[in-house]
Amino acid sequence: MNKIKYTDAIIELEELVAEMEKNEIDVDELTKKVKRASELIKICKEKLHFTEEEVTKILKEINT
C-alpha cells in the first residue's frame, strides 16, 4: 500500500481543494491536479478500509 500517511494525504487534498476554490488552476494544471487528487482520494479511502499491521510482527518486536 502507498507509504503516504493519511494525515499528509488529507492535508494535500485540502490544499488542492483550496486552490480549486480560489480558481487558481489553469487547464494545463487541472488534469495533473485532478489526477493527483484522485490518487489521494483513493489512498484515503483505502486507508479507511485497510490496515497492514500484524499482531505477530508486533509481538516479535516487543520481545526483541
Partner: protein, 440 residues
C-alpha cells in the same frame, strides 16, 4: 506489675509464665475496643475459610513506623465488606487507609495482634477523596494534567492498543462494535491484557503502558476499557502513578471504564473519556465516518470545480471561435472583393491589350492587302503590255504583214551565202507554203 516468681531458685520464669503474664497485663490494660487508623499493607484474605489476616502499618514519609498483624473472622469480614462497598464503591484491599474498631489480643502462641470487629467506610471515602485531590494537585503542579488532552492526534485513529481483560464484557462489546461497523471501516487492535481492578491493577496497567511505549509507532491510540464490573474498584484510577502514566503518554489514551459520575483522575487526564467501551467504539467509528464524509465532499468539490473550470474555458473557446469565424469571414469577404477588383482590372487590361494588338494587326493586314493589290494591278498591266507585245511579235502577225519564212533542212534561212545551187527550200506565207530550188 511485677511477675510473681514461683520456681525454686527464684532465678527464671517459664516462657508460658512470661507470655501468660503479658497476656494478663494486656487483657487488663486494653479492656475495650478502640478505633484505630491504619493502612492495610496486605489484606491476606483466605477465600476458603473467609478469614483475613491483614498486615496493618503506619507510614511516615513513606517509611513504616508501626506495624501489626490483625485478624478479621469470616463473619465480621462479610458484614464489614458489604458495608464498606456500599459506601465507598470499593472493596477492602491492599494499600487502603482504613478506620477500624479493634481490640488488642495477645496469645502465648501467636503473640500480639489486633482483632478487627468493625470498619468506618466514610473515613476511607474521605481518605480516597483526599488521595484523589492529591493526585490531581500533583499532576497539575508537574504540568502533566492536560498533557495527553493537548496531544495532536493523527486524523485517523485506526491502530489501537487495548488495555483490558480479554474475557470481560466491556472488551467483547467493544470488539463487536468496531469489527462489525456497517461501513466496513478497518481498525487494527491488539490486546494488552491487564488487571483492571483490585490489588496489582496499577502496576499491571502501568507496565502494559510501558510495553506499548516500546512499540508506539504501531499505534495511533491506547484504549483502557473495562465494563461489566459496576462502579466497584475504580479508585485505582485515582492513583497518582497510573494517572501520571496516562497523562504523560506520548499518544492519545482513551478511557472507557464504565461509570458515569465522579470521574477518576485517569479519566480526567485521558485524551478522551467515554462512559462505556461501546461508546468508545462509536466515538472512533464516528471519527472515521467524518473523514469518509469529508473525502466524499472533497471528491464532489473537485468534480464540481474542475467541471466549472472546464466549462468556463469551453465558454472562452466558444467565444474565441465565434470571433475567429466572424473575423475570417470578414477577411475572406474583403479579400474576395479585392480579388474581384484585381480580376476585373486584369481582364480590362488584357482586353485593352488585345484590342490594341488587333487594331495593329488589322492595320498591317490592310497595308498588306493594299500593297498586294497595287502590286497585282501593276503586274497585270505589265503582263498585258507584254502579252500585246508578244502577240505583235508572233510570226503569224509578221507573215500577215507580207513577210515570209524560209527554212532549209528545218532551219530558218537568215543568210543566202550559206545556200548552194539545188538546195530545196520551204517558204511559209500568211496563207499557204511553197517549195523552191536555189538557182544562183
Amino acid at each position: 506489675m511485677d511477675l510473681e516468681i514461683k520456681n525454686i531458685d527464684n532465678k527464671y520464669h517459664s516462657l508460658l509464665e512470661l507470655t501468660q503474664s503479658v497476656e494478663s497485663v494486656i487483657n487488663k490494660t486494653y479492656t475495650k475496643s478502640y478505633w484505630v487508623k491504619a493502612e492495610i499493607a496486605k489484606l491476606n484474605f483466605y477465600p476458603k475459610s473467609g478469614h483475613c489476616y491483614p498486615d496493618l502499618v503506619e507510614k511516615q514519609n513513606g517509611k513504616v513506623v508501626a506495624q501489626m498483624r490483625a485478624i478479621i473472622w469470616a463473619g465480621s469480614f462479610k458484614d464489614m465488606s458489604l458495608k464498606f462497598t456500599n459506601v465507598t464503591n470499593e472493596k477492602i484491599g491492599d494499600g487502603m487507609t482504613v478506620l477500624l474498631r479493634c481490640s488488642v489480643k495477645f496469645s502465648p502462641i501467636y503473640g500480639l495482634s489486633l482483632q478487627i470487629h468493625d470498619i468506618e467506610p466514610s473515613f476511607t471515602l474521605g481518605e480516597l477523596a483526599k488521595e484523589k485531590q492529591k493526585s490531581i494537585a500533583r499532576l497539575k503542579d508537574e504540568g502533566k494534567f492536560y498533557k495527553n488532552k493537548q496531544l495532536l492526534p493523527p486524523l485517523l485513529i485506526q491502530r489501537l492498543a487495548i488495555i483490558s481483560v480479554e474475557t470481560s464484557k466491556g472488551y467483547q462489546d467493544f470488539i463487536k462494535v468496531i469489527d462489525n461497523n456497517e461501513w466496513g471501516y478497518k481498525f487494527f487492535h491488539m490486546l494488552f491484557p491487564a488487571l483492571l481492578q483490585g490489588d496489582g491493577a496499577v502496576k499491571s496497567i502501568t507496565s502494559q503502558l510501558t510495553s506499548i511505549n516500546k512499540i508506539i509507532h504501531h499505534f495511533d491510540a491506547v484504549l483502557i476499557i473495562r465494563g461489566g464490573g459496576g462502579d466497584i474498584g475504580l479508585s485505582i484510577f485515582d492513583n497518582y502513578n497510573l494517572a501520571s502514566s496516562v497523562a504523560d503518554f506520548p499518544i492519545p489514551v482513551i478511557t472507557g471504564i464504565g461509570h458515569s459520575t465522579n470521574f477518576t483522575v485517569s479519566e480526567q487526564v485521558s485524551f478522551v473519556n467515554k462512559i462505556t467501551p461501546t461508546e468508545v467504539g462509536y466515538y472512533l467509528i464516528h471519527k472515521f465516518h467524518k473523514l469518509s464524509v469529508r473525502i466524499q465532499d472533497v471528491e464532489n468539490i473537485l468534480l464540481e470545480k474542475s467541471n466549472g473550470i472546464l466549462s468556463h474555458n469551453r465558454e472562452i473557446l466558444k467565444q474565441l471561435s465565434t470571433k475567429l469565424k466572424a473575423t475570417t469571414e470578414r477577411l475572406v469577404y474583403q479579400n474576395n472583393l479585392i480579388l474581384k477588383d484585381i480580376n476585373y482590372k486584369f481582364i480590362n487590361a488584357i482586353q485593352k491589350s488585345i484590342n490594341k494588338q488587333n487594331h495593329l494587326l488589322n492595320n498591317i493586314l490592310l497595308l498588306i492587302t493594299n500593297q498586294t493589290n497595287k502590286l497585282f494591278i501593276e503586274n497585270n498591266h505589265t503582263v498585258m503590255t507584254l502579252t500585246e507585245k508578244i502577240r505583235l511579235l508572233h510570226p503569224e502577225n509578221i507573215l500577215k504583214r507580207g513577210y515570209s519564212i524560209t527554212v532549209y533542212e528545218g532551219k530558218v534561212v537568215k543568210d543566202a551565202k550559206f545556200l548552194n545551187d539545188g538546195d530545196i527550200l520551204e517558204t511559209t506565207f500568211t496563207k499557204g507554203k511553197t517549195i523552191s530550188i536555189v538557182n544562183k
